[in-house]
Symmetry: C2
Subunit: 197 residues, 2 copies
């Protein structure tokens, strides 16, 4: 019996495979290669499980995890725009935001309409970064590359000439917003990395 | 202020990074390289979200997703044992099961004790494959590589000399247990792949 919804879902899942070929700025901890956005997304979901106890009131970890599973799929069309590229400006530019919004419509649009709308809304909520779930998810998305850099000789930071002040202003504030106790600890480690007292 | 639980959690999350270097039998859809177990785990969580409507009664998709996030971490110590290696026998051997159980104790044991126990129990439930959540998760874990093979010229099947009958007996039964309608569709595609009417 024909199953048109299933055909659409399998086509979406095949398209999603391309996220495994999108490279990010940071490396694996052993410096063997760049991290890709699919395995980064998996690592983030594990961060969410492990650091669930740090979540503020009103955070639904299940929704956070679903946001994180979806959050980078737009990079299949747009690529990863490193946080520290172009002096930290490129990442949030209107051009990138528009390209990502178009990518979201195309990629989630492969799904049956009701599911496409549900996934698109979850991705838009993440991007808007206003609900407790989105704020926690965004904080995790800033925390994981910070930790990756700390455990891999700052490979991504060296590549983009990132300073201590860049990290505090571009990363610290967002980590602290959803994960204040984690930022306290990581801030100490960042200071030590840069040889500050 | 010292945060010993957070130190343990960050050490666990750094250890988990190693799953990105565990290669699997199947390739990416574009045949560019082997898939690794971290990105496979991410893809599986997306399968769970997309195919949630196929889940039988009593399945909690949030728990299924958490199982899938954790399910392959033992491969950091044991490696991926391909389903079709050694005539399909090696994958479920008592030696592999024991090695994986030891790996689970070591790796989850890096976490604070209560969280270690929670994650270990979830992994054990997945492995035992008896609860509705575990059955659905295991079915997804058989479905994704089947689809990867179908969309990448059967690269993993060719490598291990896998026949149509092997797929029906080693994969089909487990897919059908949790995802019967999906198996109906994939069974047709497998028959077509092998040139069967």
């Amino acid at each position: 019996m024909p199953q048109p919804d299933l055909d659409a879902q399998l086509a979406f899942l095949a398209e999603a495979d391309k996220l495994k070929s999108v490279d990010r700025a940071n490396t694996l901890n052993d410096l063997s290669r760049q991290e890709n956005s699919a395995e980064h997304s998996w690592h983030l979901t594990l961060y969410a499980m492990v650091l669930a106890g740090q979540a503020g009131p009103g955070v639904d970890i299940g929704r956070v995890i679903r946001m994180l599973i979806l959050h980078d799929l737009v990079e299949i069309d747009v690529g990863d725009v490193p946080l520290h590229s172009a002096g930290g400006q490129a990442h949030d530019s209107p051009e990138i935001q528009q390209a990502e919004a178009e990518a979201a419509r195309r990629i989630f649009g492969l799904l049956p309409p009701a599911q496409a709308a549900e996934f698109l809304a979850l991705w838009q909520e993440f991007e808007a970064n206003r609900t407790p779930d989105a704020v926690f998810a965004k904080s995790l998305d800033r925390t994981q590359p910070l930790v990756q850099n700390l455990t891999s000789d700052g490979a991504g930071w060296v590549k983009y000439g990132v300073t201590y002040d860049n990290i505090v202003s571009r990363v610290g504030e967002k980590v602290a917003r959803g994960l204040p106790a984690v930022w306290d600890e990581l801030h100490c480690r960042v200071r030590a990395f840069f040889g500050l007292a």
